[in-house]
């Protein structure tokens, strides 16, 4: 344990300068660890320069309107000298100049060229003065110099302590009892860590600055974080839109492109040529899906068999008579021969007519082309004429049925769309409305224009009806509006390069994917349209 004494003393000495700085926390409690930076913007570009420790400046170049990184080249004029910034990646440049390491206010002129576009920007960098650093270092050194007695006394105490510790150290024990290795490894690791921390190479790769919420509610989001979260904005403009009306609804099949397959009589089910159809199978109109063999009671079957036997006997008699008359042609009248032949043909027709009832079966035919959506069939199953054995829906022709609870403005419908439970939007075409009320509401029918392949009949949807009543506002993607912690919906305005201000807004849905902001945002503001939810998470 006593061996730790000199080590502890050295650690205390090393920690001294660090501790001396902790008092500064009180001076700047808001900006916890932001680096000195400059901002420059024009109608085309937005540029942020972050001065890293060590005099290297990282430049982030983005498009002004949509915040997308802009690739190109930057030449910087520093005190009349032109310096080309080194390109590190898309929209990321590094600038090295000895002037940047010196303190003071400095104006930089940036000549930006990105593709066809060129621009000039200017910004002011307030480089930090290291004066305080020197002052601080002088502070405790001076104090020691002013009191040499203290210094000498302290050193003497330290040496005395070291000598005491050395003298009173226990003799080394055999290695079995006390292992030396970890003790030596610990100071080594501490030294390595300190070297790493002090290494300027590490500092130059960019100091991470966390995004945070400022006291005024705005969000400080450094450019690297904006790139990471792919924040995109949109310069807003006032536009006219139709007012909308929301209604609950559901997907129903088009009555002219869907059908049920029902047998006309009770019978036993048999498979078609390729067996019973399966769910989702594509069938064509007129295709035989299954057969139903009629089933009779014993009495019915007896009557049928009796009729057949009688007819068979009659046919045999008529056949013999016709043959006999035919062989006597010339001696009997031609009329008699024809009558006998007609009677024979009639009897055969009657026999043929009752044949299906005896052994025939009814074919179940698809009434429309489409996909099999319901199968209620098993081989050998007894079905009756009330039962829909199969249901067929054409997935390319679907309708939406919605219930309108307010009759107002149903007469001037401009268009409609529907939102599926997963958020996708369907464009609808109004087909008609019922005159009979159902559940105190008016049923409305819409045709789905180009329905997606995986939409199910019966899915609930929210129908947005656009009525011919104009609404003036700013049209934004629905993703731009997020719910704030306080409750009301907000959008985030990109007020300056790295600041985002929440703006409470009044919104109305426009269709599944867009909303109209009628209050709360001024035209020309840059509003976050991608990643707004992520900005809202910043605390």
């Amino acid at each position: 344990m006593r061996r730790f004494l000199p080590l502890a003393l050295i650690a205390c000495l090393l920690a001294l300068p660090v501790r001396a700085h902790e008092g500064h926390d009180d001076e700047a409690p808001v900006a916890s660890n932001a680096l000195p930076r400059l901002q420059a913007e024009s109608e085309l570009f937005e540029l942020v320069g972050v001065l890293q420790p060590g005099g290297l400046m990282l430049l982030y170049l983005d498009r002004w309107a949509d915040n997308a990184p802009a690739d190109g080249a930057i030449t910087v004029t520093i005190e009349g000298q032109e310096v080309a910034a080194e390109r590190l990646g898309v929209g990321l440049f590094s600038l090295r100049h000895p002037r940047l390491a010196r303190p003071g206010s400095i104006d930089l002129i940036f000549s930006v060229s990105a593709g066809e576009e060129m621009d000039l920007l200017t910004g002011t960098l307030e480089a930090p003065a290291p004066a305080e650093h020197a002052e601080e270092a002088h502070g405790w050194l001076d104090a020691l110099r002013e009191a040499p007695v203290l210094l000498i006394g302290g050193l003497a105490l330290l040496l005395g302590g070291l000598a005491l510790g050395r003298l009173s150290a226990p003799r080394p024990l055999p290695p079995m009892v006390e292992d030396e290795a970890p003790r030596k490894a610990a100071p080594l690791a501490v030294g390595l860590l300190m070297l790493l921390a002090a290494s300027p190479a590490l500092a130059q790769t960019g100091v991470a600055e966390p995004p945070r919420r400022m006291e005024d509610g705005t969000v400080f989001l450094p450019k690297p974080s904006q790139r990471l979260l792919a924040i995109r904005t949109q310069a807003t403009a006032t536009a006219e839109a139709f007012a909308t009306l929301q209604m609950p609804g559901g997907i129903v099949p088009d009555p002219n492109a869907s059908g049920r397959v029902q047998p006309s009589q009770t019978g036993r089910l048999e498979g078609g040529e390729r067996g019973l159809p399966t769910l989702g199978q594509r069938v064509e109109r007129g295709q035989v899906l299954a057969y139903v063999t009629p089933s009779y009671t014993a009495a019915e079957r007896g009557t049928l068999t009796q009729n057949a036997a009688e007819l068979d006997a009659q046919i045999a008699i008529l056949q013999a008579r016709a043959t006999r008359l035919l062989s006597l042609r010339g001696s009997v009248s031609e009329r008699e021969i024809q009558e006998a032949q007609a009677e024979l043909a009639g009897a055969r027709q009657r026999r043929a007519a009752i044949q299906p009832a005896l052994s025939g079966r009814e074919a179940l035919v698809a009434p429309v082309s489409g996909s099999v959506s319901v199968v209620r069939a098993a081989l050998g199953q007894l079905v009756d004429n009330q039962m829909a054995v199969f249901e067929i829906v054409d997935p390319a022709r679907l309708w939406v049925e919605a219930l309108a609870f307010e009759r107002t403005s149903l007469d001037n419908i401009a268009g409609a769309s529907a939102t599926l439970p997963d958020g996708r939007a369907l464009e609808l075409e109004f087909t008609g409305r019922g005159l009979a009320r159902r559940q105190q509401a008016v049923p409305l029918n819409f045709r789905v224009i180009a329905p997606p392949a995986d939409v199910d009949v019966g899915s609930p949807v929210v129908v947005l009806l656009r009525v011919r009543r104009n609404l003036s506002g700013i049209i934004l993607p629905a993703d731009a509006v997020v719910r704030s912690a306080e409750g009301p919906p907000v959008v985030f305005e990109h007020t300056s390069a790295e600041r985002f201000a929440p703006r409470p807004v009044r919104v109305q849905p426009l269709d599944g994917a867009r909303v109209v902001v009628t209050e709360g945002v001024n035209p020309g503001a840059r509003i976050v349209v991608q990643g707004a939810g992520l900005i809202a998470q910043v605390r």
Binding site: A28, A40, E43, S105, D107, M118, A127
Partner: protein, 127 residues
Amino acid sequence: MFRRLFLTLPFATPALAQSGHSHSHGAGPNGGVVAELGNQHLELVLRDGELRIYLLNEQDQPMPATGVAGSAVLQSQGRQQTLRLAAGPGNAYLVGQGEFVARGTRVVASLTLPGQPQRSVRFPVAP
């Protein structure tokens, strides 16, 4: 590393607090575009081949260009050039000559006002 971070704190605060000066001025008294430098206004009048900068005070009243030195960087038709600015007749304005067309030219001027350090100012592009 931490020491440097702590040291930057007091200076980082004003840098963060400053927000882009984005409010647009109307046309200046001489028909040019107006930009702001400190508490002064500058008006840029561009003609083909000639650039004039008028110094105005906060109320857009003309001020003499005495003792003002500076230069202007121009970007015109994909070409960049630097013009030296000199006081015009009667110190009414600063003037620089070069080969450029006025339309769509972007201008950044670096000016040293009497008793002030050199500052750069960007003029909005005239429509």
